[in-house]
């Protein structure tokens, strides 16, 4: 039992605790518990950053004897910040739901913590079966978060979300089982080693199929164009906290999976298919941005902007160089921070005006100046202004893409232009201009609770944009190892082919 | 008069098959719930006969035990099944199986 196990299982314990206590005090309890979890997770930073390329807090005990499933967990520089991000966002989501959720309060917070349990587990699992279990665990609370506390078309959205993700994860399960039949273990580290040393000898086609099975599961979650259509629906219908967790954390599970599993295990297939995948990513970047530009609904706009931003993540990943991969991972965090904040802010507006249509707003800056400033900073972060977080990630991704294939960078950089268009246009239509009467009547400035919820993210935007090194160096070290692994494998195969 | 030839085992099994098929036919042809239920009993009896015949052939008692259990289950089934038929009749005022078809989408 080490600190990581504590961080993984505390949310599960909190989930059970919340079910036991009376509903009236569930808000306070959820907040306290999630803050405790967050504080505990901060303890992970020290040991991991000291040795970011190796797994820290490793725990490897048998879980099920036959088949050989192990409880194998551990984190390195790649997963560290994603876990911290998840544990940070949970208390913030508790805060923003304080008044927003008025019925079945207890269950809401319970599901939020169950979601945290699954997500942290996903980022910590080193056994493929364990990973799959956590991966599926996250589905359940999100299904209910959207389905119970969502807007009008919530059932359609949540079923779509669920089926989409299930379709992908079934493929992944098949691939995991195939790997088990080949290697006799679900352990990711062992499997990677076996694959690298050629002791599991996959045929060319087998590697492609396995890669695709994993990749499609992850790509749905990312979501990579054209597998993204569940996202706008899910976001629009989800309650604010659901949107935040979905965008900031759950989408990262897909990106993380690609980097963690697809690249080291099937480097040959990854390289072979990289042009195609990069093509889809590029289409996603541009189409996502252009479609976002014409959305009348704020949440849909942000959702499509996510499609665009996550295209960058995929593009950087498949550039196969240090800059691209570092940028991709950094961009995962950035997107989590800035889009999470955007969804929060849109949620704040919704709580006041009860509409997500951009048309329903205008001149909010006059009546809610603080909200306007925070929204501006978040907007700027989202469109990649320097000294704010997204810039570093986008720059690295584009630089990596330019090294891999300059044309990729050209097309991807177009997306940067479009991102400015849709975000600024939305900001103008929502916050600037004269204030209509009903907006003046309903919209008030941000209150202290909301400020406390969004402030950490704003601070992170500036922090991650200026002092990037502290965040980036552990990621870089872990990525260097992943690239090393996948490169070694490709070279070995090439040698075998000769 | 020479003793008649002994009865072959096949005769018992064929009888069992005939009775079973009669049960099936009854189940398919009859429209009264109670008669259909009786057809099921007939099928059970046919199978019981097979069990007893095999038991004789193999010189083992186990077949009898099986038959015994079938009887017990049949008794339980009759109790519950007839109670259900009573309820159906109470609710629908008919025993005609074709009119009891609310179990569809």
């Amino acid at each position: 039992m080490n600190l990581l196990d504590l961080v993984i299982f505390l949310p599960a314990v909190a989930f059970l605790l919340l079910l036991l206590i009376p509903a009236a005090s569930s808000r306070q309890a959820a907040l306290a518990l999630s803050i405790v979890i967050f504080l505990a997770s901060l303890g992970l930073i020290g040991p991991v950053t000291a040795n970011p390329a190796a797994y820290s807090f490793e725990n490897n005990i048998p879980w099920i004897e036959t088949p050989n499933i192990r409880y194998h967990t551990g984190i390195d520089g790649l997963s560290l910040w994603l876990i911290i991000l998840s544990t940070l966002l949970t208390p913030l989501c508790v805060l923003i739901s304080w008044n927003y959720i008025s019925h079945r309060v207890k269950e809401f917070y319970a599901f939020l913590l169950l979601l945290e349990f699954g997500v942290v587990g996903v980022f910590a699992a080193l056994d493929l079966f364990l990973f799959y279990v956590f991966w599926e665990v996250t589905l359940v609370p999100m299904y209910f978060l959207i389905g119970i506390w969502g807007h009008d078309r919530r059932i359609y959205a949540t079923v779509k979300f669920f089926l989409y993700t299930m379709a992908g994860s079934v493929l992944m399960l098949a691939a995991i089982l195939y790997l088990y039949t080949q290697g006799g273990t679900f352990d990711y580290t062992v499997l990677t080693k076996l694959l690298q040393e050629g002791r599991i000898n996959l045929s060319h086609n087998a590697e492609i199929y396995l890669f695709l099975a994993f990749f499609i599961a992850f790509a749905i979650k990312v979501p990579l164009w054209p597998l993204h259509t569940w996202l706008p629906d899910a976001h629009v219908e989800a309650p604010t906290a659901g949107s935040v967790m979905l965008a900031s954390v759950m989408l990262k599970m897909g990106c993380y999976g690609i980097v963690r599993f697809c690249l080291p295990m099937f480097p040959g297939a990854a390289r072979e298919l990289a042009p195609w995948i990069a093509g889809f990513a590029l289409v996603g970047i541009s189409v996502g941005a252009l479609v976002a530009m014409v959305q009348p609904n704020m949440k849909k706009l942000v959702a499509y902007s996510s499609v665009s931003h996550l295209g960058f993540v995929v593009l950087g990943t498949f550039a196969f160089n240090q800059q691209g991969l570092d940028g991709a991972v950094y961009q995962m965090l950035n997107h989590g921070v800035s889009t999470g904040a955007l969804f929060m802010l849109v949620g704040f507006l919704y709580e006041r005006q009860h509409s997500l249509e951009i048309k329903a707003y205008g001149g909010v800056a006059t009546v809610a100046p603080k909200l306007a400033v925070i929204f501006m900073i978040t907007t700027l972060a989202s469109i990649g202004l320097p000294l704010l977080n997204n810039f570093v990630g986008e720059f690295l991704v584009l630089q990596g893409a330019a090294i891999a294939n300059f044309r990729w960078a050209v097309f991807a950089a177009l997306g940067v232009i479009f991102s400015a268009c849709y975000m600024l246009w939305m900001y103008q239509r929502t916050f600037l201009g004269k204030t209509p009467h009903d907006v003046e009547h309903h919209v008030t400035d941000i209150n202290t609770r909301e400020l406390v919820a969004v402030a950490p993210l704003v601070i992170l935007m500036v922090w991650m944009g200026t002092a990037a090194g502290g965040f980036l160096n552990p990621i870089s070290a872990a990525n260097a190892k992943i690239l090393e692994q996948s490169k070694a494998r490709v070279e070995m195969r090439a040698a075998n082919a000769r | 008069m020479p003793p008649p030839p002994p009865v072959p085992l096949v005769a018992y099994l064929t009888l069992s098959a005939i009775l079973f098929v009669l049960g099936v036919a009854g189940f398919l042809i009859r429209k009264n719930l109670i008669t259909m239920f009786m057809s099921i009993e007939l099928m059970l009896n046919a199978v019981n006969l097979s069990f007893v015949s095999f038991s004789y052939h193999l010189k083992q008692t186990d077949g009898h035990l099986f038959t015994f259990f079938v009887m017990v289950v049949a008794a339980a089934e009759a109790a519950v099944g007839l109670a259900i038929i009573l309820t159906v009749f109470k609710n629908r005022a008919t025993l005609m199986v074709d009119e009891v078809d609310s179990l569809k989408l």
């Binding site: - | 030839p5 018992y12 005939i18 009786m38 004789y56 052939h57 008692t61 009898h64 038959t67």
Partner: protein, 167 residues
């Protein structure tokens, strides 16, 4: 003696079976089913199954069929009317399917057992009440207890359903 007895009671069983299936009125069906069961009891005896034969008469022909008759009386079920909506499959394919089933079963039975495997009364004595009871309370004790639970549940189920009927 055996072949004659077999011929008589097998004949009764088949005839009663046919009557049961063809009769429109449930009472007639029930009575002919009792006939089938009774003749089967005799056949059980011929196969050396004394206990089962007795149980057949007591449990089946006695208890269960009385229950049936009772329900028929209670519901005052009359003969079924002639024209009825029905399953197309059962209507058109019913008879061919039954015949095919008969043919297949007969063929299988014939293929499995040669004609010289015969049944002689008294060759098998494992069907006495002692032998059956011995097996029941030793080898099959657990299943026996389980069936007792099953019967209990069935009683409860019947009571619940019947009580629902009352209100």
């Amino acid at each position: 003696m055996d072949p004659i007895l077999f011929a008589i009671f097998a004949g009764i069983a088949v005839v009663c079976g046919i009557v049961m299936v063809t009769q429109r009125h449930p009472i007639a069906s029930a009575l002919s089913l009792i006939g089938v069961m009774g003749s089967l009891a005799v056949l059980y005896l011929l196969l050396g199954a004394e206990f089962i034969a007795a149980a057949q008469v007591i449990v089946y022909a006695g208890a269960i069929m009385v229950l049936f008759l009772f329900v028929i009386m209670l519901l005052n079920a009359g003969a079924e009317p002639k024209p009825l909506r029905s399953s197309y499959l059962a209507g058109f394919l019913g008879v061919p399917m039954v015949l095919a089933l008969m043919g297949l079963l007969g063929y299988l039975v014939k293929r499995s057992f040669p004609l010289d495997v015969t049944v002689r009364f008294g060759d098998f004595t494992g069907g006495s009440a002692k032998a059956v009871g011995d097996a029941l309370f030793r080898k099959y004790l657990l299943p026996f207890e389980v069936t007792s639970v099953l019967v209990l549940i069935a009683i409860l189920g019947a009571v619940v359903l019947a009580r629902k009927e009352m209100d």
